[in-house]
C-alpha cells in the first residue's frame, strides 16, 4: 500500500535567482524514484499540495534533490523551511521517463527554465545506461542559469538565454540546428517551448513532460488532464504522465 512519506530536509540552497535547491532524505523514495516522477508536497497553510519534479537521487545517501522556482506563496513558503524540518509528501508520483525502451545511442535533452531539473536525473540515468547525452538548456537571463556544470559532466551542454546575457541568445529551438545527429529527445519546460520543440523535431521520436494545475495529484479528481490525439479524450498528467510521447498529446 502507498503511504504518506515523511521526508527530512537536509539542505536548502539558493542556486540561482528565485531558485531553490533542496535535498530531502528518505530511503524508500530514493530507492524507487524513476526520472520524470514528481513529489506532491504539502506546504503549511495551503489547501493544495505542490508538485515538484525529482531532480536527482543519491541512492547511497537516500537523498533526493528537488529544484524549484519561487513563483508564488507555496514555493516561497517551501523555500523558507529550515533544515531538519519534515516534509509531508506523496510520491514518487507519475509514470516517469521510460528507460526500458531502446532509443538509439544519442539522446537530446531540451529543458526550459524550471523544466530543467527532471532532465538532470534523467540524463545521469541515461549515461549510466550507456547513452550519449546532449543538453540544450534555456533560461530567461544569466541570473536564472543553474546546473550548467552538472549537465556538462554528462555531455555536451548548450546554454541559451532569452536576452543573450549568458550562453547563446535566443530560444532553445534556435540552436537545435547546430546539434549533430540524435536518435530521440526528451523535453520539459513551458508549453510554448514544448510546442516549438515538437514541431522542430517532428521527424524524431520524443517525449514531453507536462505541467498542469493539480488537485489530488494521484488521478482521482480529473483536474490535471491533457487532450490526447487518439479517441481516448483526455489523459491525466499526474497519473498517466507527466511524461508523454510527443505525438500522443494535444498541446
Amino acid at each position: 500500500m502507498k503511504t504518506i512519506q515523511k521526508m527530512i530536509i537536509k539542505k536548502v540552497n539558493t542556486i540561482a535567482l528565485d531558485t531553490t535547491e533542496m535535498v530531502l532524505v528518505h530511503e524508500e523514495v530514493a530507492r524507487t524514484a524513476i526520472p520524470g516522477q514528481f513529489l506532491h508536497i504539502s506546504v503549511p497553510g495551503h489547501t493544495l499540495r505542490r508538485p515538484v519534479s525529482i531532480a536527482d537521487v543519491d541512492k547511497k545517501e537516500h537523498a533526493i534533490t528537488i529544484l524549484f522556482k519561487q513563483i508564488g506563496s507555496g514555493t516561497k513558503a517551501l523555500a523558507s523551511l529550515p533544515v531538519g524540518a519534515t516534509l509531508d509528501v506523496l510520491g514518487p508520483n507519475g509514470n516517469g521517463f521510460n528507460l526500458q525502451e531502446k532509443n538509439g545511442d544519442t539522446i537530446l535533452l531540451i529543458g526550459g527554465g524550471i523544466g530543467v531539473p527532471p532532465l538532470y536525473y534523467l540524463g545521469k540515468s541515461l549515461v549510466e545506461k550507456g547513452y550519449k547525452i546532449i543538453s540544450v538548456l534555456g533560461f530567461q537571463t544569466k541570473d536564472y542559469v543553474f546546473y550548467e556544470q552538472k549537465f556538462s559532466k554528462i555531455g555536451k551542454t548548450i546554454i541559451v538565454t532569452d536576452d543573450g546575457s549568458y550562453g547563446e541568445k535566443g530560444l532553445v529551438t534556435d540552436v537545435l540546428n547546430e546539434i549533430e545527429q540524435i536518435d530521440c529527445y526528451y523535453s520539459c519546460g513551458p508549453l510554448p517551448m514544448l510546442k516549438a520543440v515538437r514541431s522542430h523535431l517532428s521527424h524524431k521520436k520524443g517525449y514531453l513532460s507536462l505541467e498542469e494545475r493539480m488537485g489530488c495529484g494521484v488521478g482521482a479528481c480529473f483536474a490535471c488532464v491533457v487532450p490526447t490525439n487518439d479517441d481516448s479524450g483526455y489523459k491525466k498528467i499526474c497519473q498517466d504522465g507527466p511524461v508523454f510521447q510527443a505525438e500522443e498529446v494535444q498541446i
Binding site: M1, K2, T3, I4, S42, H46, T47, L48, R49, G74, L90, E212, R213, M214, G215, C216, G217, V218, G219, A220, C221, F222, A223, C224, V225, V226, P227, G233, Y234, Q239
Partner: protein
C-alpha cells in the same frame, strides 16, 4: 463501545464516513492507500448519459482555506461506469452511491434507469447543481420546481433510494429541501460547491478555463453547517452533510447541526488518509463529548426556539 453505525434508506452503514463525489474518482487511486472496505460508503464521481470530456484546463485553483474546481463532469458515460468501475468497487465491503448528472431531465432519467440495472449500486445521489440546457441554462438546483421535477422523474425511473444533492447557491435552502422532499427524495446530500472565481493577475483573466468554478474546502464549512441546521428543522428525511470537513471534530459539528452521515471531499487531496483518520478518531471525539453513538449526536446542536431574524 461507541456505535458508529448509521441506518439510512438503502444504506446500512458501518460508519458515517464516505468520500464525496468527484473527489475520489471511482476509488481505484485511493484503494492503493488503504482498504476501501473501511469506509461507510463511497460516492462515485458523477456519471452522465454518455461520455463527457469535461472542461478545458486549468480546472482547479487554490483559494484561502479552499479551492475552486471546474472539472465539468468528465466521465466515460453511465454504461462504461457500470461496466468498468462499479465491479471494481463492488469487491469491497462498503456501500456504493452513484452520483448522477445531466443537462436535461431526460438525461437524468436515462442515467437513473441504467444504474437501476445493477444491484451493486445501493443508492443514487442526484446532482442538481447542473444547468438545464433546455431551460436557458438555469441550474436545476436553484429552482424549486425544476428540482422537484427531476427528483420525481428519477424516483420513477429507479427503485433505489434517491439522495438529492442541494446547491448552496440559493436564497432559500429550506424551500429547495422541502420541495425535493415533497417530490419523493429519500434523503438529502448537502452542500455542493459555492460558485466562485479567481482572476489570475499575470494573465489578467479568470484563472479557470471555465471562468467560474465550485468553491469547496474548510472555507465553506460555516455555510454548510448553517444550511444543514436550517434544513434539519424543516424536513424529516436524512441528510448526508459535507462541505469543508477535515477532522473528526468537524464531523461531530455536522452531526450536531443535523447531518445523519457525512462526506469528505477536498480534504482527501491534502491527506489521502483523511477518511480513515476520521473513522479512527471519531469514537474518541464522540465519547469526550458525551455521546455513545453517532445516532445520539444527530441534531443535538439544534436550539429549539423561535427562528432568529436579525441583521448581522
Amino acid at each position: 463501545m461507541i456505535d458508529l453505525s448509521v441506518e439510512l434508506p438503502g444504506l446500512s452503514l458501518k460508519n458515517p464516513i464516505m468520500p464525496a463525489s468527484g473527489c475520489f474518482g471511482f476509488g481505484r487511486e485511493y484503494s492503493e492507500y488503504y482498504d476501501l472496505s473501511r469506509l461507510g460508503a463511497i460516492m462515485m464521481k458523477a456519471a452522465t448519459g454518455s461520455k463527457r470530456l469535461g472542461n478545458p484546463t486549468p480546472r482547479v485553483a487554490e483559494t484561502a482555506s479552499g479551492m475552486l474546481n471546474a472539472i465539468g463532469l468528465q466521465n466515460p458515460g453511465v454504461n462504461e461506469v457500470i461496466k468498468n468501475e462499479v465491479p471494481f468497487l463492488a469487491q469491497y465491503d462498503t456501500k456504493i452511491i452513484a452520483n448522477i448528472a445531466g443537462s436535461t431531465i431526460e438525461e437524468y432519467e436515462k442515467v437513473a434507469k441504467a444504474f437501476n440495472q445493477t444491484k451493486d449500486v445501493h443508492a443514487l445521489e442526484l446532482n442538481i447543481s447542473c444547468p438545464n440546457v433546455k431551460e436557458g441554462g438555469i441550474q436545476f438546483g436553484t429552482d424549486t420546481e425544476m428540482a422537484a421535477r427531476v427528483t420525481e422523474i428519477v424516483k420513477n425511473a429507479s427503485d433505489k433510494p434517491v439522495y438529492v444533492k442541494l446547491s448552496p447557491n440559493v436564497s432559500d435552502i429550506t424551500a429547495m429541501a422541502r420541495s425535493v422532499e415533497k417530490a419523493g427524495a429519500d434523503g438529502l446530500s448537502m452542500i455542493n460547491t459555492l460558485t466562485g472565481m479567481q482572476i489570475h493577475l499575470p494573465s489578467k483573466q479568470p484563472l479557470l478555463a471555465n471562468k467560474t468554478g465550485g468553491l469547496s474546502g474548510p472555507a465553506i464549512k460555516p455555510i454548510a453547517i448553517r444550511m444543514i441546521y436550517e434544513v434539519r428543522q424543516h424536513v424529516s428525511i436524512p441528510i448526508i452533510g459535507m462541505g469543508g470537513i477535515s477532522t473528526a471534530e468537524d464531523v461531530l459539528e455536522f452531526l450536531l447541526a443535523g447531518a445523519n452521515a457525512v462526506a469528505i471531499g477536498t480534504a482527501n487531496f491534502q491527506n489521502p488518509f483523511t477518511c480513515i483518520d476520521i473513522i479512527e478518531k471519531l469514537p474518541e471525539v464522540l465519547k469526550q463529548n458525551g455521546f455513545h453513538s453517532v445516532k445520539d449526536a444527530v441534531g443535538k446542536g439544534i436550539v429549539d426556539d423561535s427562528s432568529n431574524i436579525s441583521c448581522p
